[in-house]
Structures are given as C-alpha cells and as structure tokens.
Symmetry: C2
Subunit: 188 residues, 2 copies
C-alpha cells in the first residue's frame, strides 16, 4: 500500500512537470492534472492540498541539488575556486533539468511562490554571492544575475538541438568568460 | 469620441501590463482586467476579443523597438560593429521596459503565443544571428541565447535597487566581455 501511494504521488508530480512546461505554473490547475492522469480532483487532493504544495514537491529535488552544489562551492578555498565550482555545478544541474528549469526560471507565478520560501531566497542569495564576490560593486551583481537567468533561460527551446554535453560545456565556457575566470588546468 | 476610445484602449493595455507582471500572462484573464479597471467584461471585449489580442497590443511597441534596433545593427559594417550595436540597443530597450521584459522573457504562455507570430520568430532569429556570427559553432549560439535570456531575466527583482543608467552600462559591459567584444573608443 505504501508503495502504491508513493507511486501515485510521483505520477502526479511527473504529470505536473509536463503541464507546467506546457502551460506555466499559473496556467495549470489541479483539475487539469486530475484530467491528465484520469482520476478525480479528490484523488489529487489526497496528496496535494493546493497547487503550491504540488509545486513544492516538483522543485524539492531541484532545490536539494542546488543546495548541495552551493555547500560544496562554499567549502572551496578562494573566491575563484568557489565561483568556478558554483558555475560548473549549476551548468550541470540546469542541463540535467533542462525543460523544467526553463519554465521555473521565468514563470512569475512559480518564482513568487518559491521566493516566499525563506530557504529558497537564502539559496538564491548565496548563489549570487558566490559569483558576485569576484567583482565588487554593481558589476559583480549584474554578471551574477545575468549568469543565473541566462543559463536557466537559454536551456529552453532556442538551443533544443544541442546535446547535453555540448550545452554544459558551452555554458561553463561562456560563464567563465563573463566572470573573468581562467579555465582550470586538468589535474595531473 | 475617437480620443475617448483610444484612451480606454490604452487604459486596458496599462492595466494588462500591471496584471501580467503580477500574475503572468497565463494567470491573467480578461475578467480580471475588467475588474481592475472597474468595467464589465463586455467593455474589454469591445477592444480586445481575446487575451491574445491584448498581449499583442501590449508587446507591439516593444516589438517595433526591437525591429528598429535590429535593422540599425544589420546596417553596420563588420560583424563586431553589428553585434555591438545590437548589444547596446537591446540593453537600452530592456532597461526602458524593465518590469515587462522580465515577465515576457520567461512566461511560457506569453512566449508560446509570441513565437507563433512568424515576424516575432524572425526577429528573435535575426537577433541571435547578430551575436552568434562572432563565433562559429555552438559556442556562438549558446552565448547569444544566454545574453538575450540573461539580460531580460536579470532586469527583474534581483537588481531592482540598481538605477537605469547603472544597469544599462553593466549589461553592456558584461555582454561585451562574454562576446569577446572590445569597448569601442569614444568618437573624437
């Protein structure tokens, strides 16, 4: 029974991701999710009481991945190593979640809801700081914001023909160029 | 009478922009716009038959500004001058329309609708080409997409404390760095 409940919970999450990608967070209702899965709205309510609960469940794994990268980056010695670790980790994470990141990064409804979680706001600020520390003043802040928004946004339809490895590599290359980071030498 | 009709049309557009910024395109109905203006839905229908008509009216001035910058950029001699003209013109345009750009750039509902206009798709492709011509292969394409998405996305809440002039100048500086463009010497 427990496995069945977990399965159907995961099924709602998978369908929600598909519908968010197609219709945005604001454009997706619990009714649409119920229709797509082929159950009643009550069956969705059994797992998620609001659309916000469902969005939280959708982004939870992503938030945990971002947190892990941030913590590893903050543990590096020196601001160049910290920024580079954040850059490569973020590029990898965006590429592994291409479609979802493209939607979440720009959906005002989803962003408002995420920002209202203090721990998400805290993670965004720590991410920005890891990049912005390379350059004091507004320049560092603007580059950090462009890098976060640009990487997530560029994961969308424009670059759909590029394979994951190429996209990851180019994100890192462009990010290093914008931040003024040298490409680290490969370990011997 | 003609002026009155134009005024009320413009009033709906202004309210629509405010609501798109707050609720996204998908999250804004004609009914919400009628309620906010304090008129019946029929009064909105008199000017806009669908939400898509209204979005077209909202973005029309923006699209015309983008088209003008693209045409001026394409008329420059040499790919560096063309890319630099596109970069400075786009930064200026994004800053002058900060809040709206931040929403439109990432709203999947709005983007889908805009992309379905062949002339908008054509403008996006010409913009990308102006940047991507600097570097053959996927690198040029990825940098172009990051620059377009990053500039529009970074115009949002993260950088709300920066004034327009600082933001414009930093966008151009970061863009030149990413594209590998030298800062042109000021004219004597």
């Amino acid at each position: 029974m427990a496995t069945g409940a977990t399965d159907s919970r995961q099924r709602f999450i998978d369908v929600a991701i598909r519908l968010f990608i197609r219709h945005s967070f604001a454009g997706t209702s619990l009714q649409m999710i119920a229709d797509e899965v082929g159950v009643t709205k009550a069956a969705v309510y059994h797992h998620f009481r609001t659309r916000e609960d469902l969005l939280s469940a959708v982004v939870e794994p992503l938030v945990e991945q971002v947190r892990a990268v941030i913590e590893q980056a903050e543990a590096q010695r020196g601001r160049h190593a910290r920024a580079d670790h954040m850059l490569t980790g973020y590029a990898d994470l965006v590429v592994r979640n291409r479609a979802l990141m493209a939607v979440l990064s720009g959906d005002p409804g989803a962003i408002d809801m995420l920002r209202s979680h203090p721990h998400v706001r805290d993670l965004i600020e720590r991410q920005i700081k890891l990049f912005a520390d390379l350059e004091p003043g507004p320049g560092g802040l603007v580059k950090a914001a462009m890098l976060l928004a640009g990487t997530a946004g560029a994961a969308g339809p424009v670059l759909i023909d590029l394979d994951d490895d190429t996209l990851r590599q180019q994100f890192v290359g462009a990010g290093r160029r914008m931040l003024g980071l040298r490409t680290p030498r490969p370990p011997k």
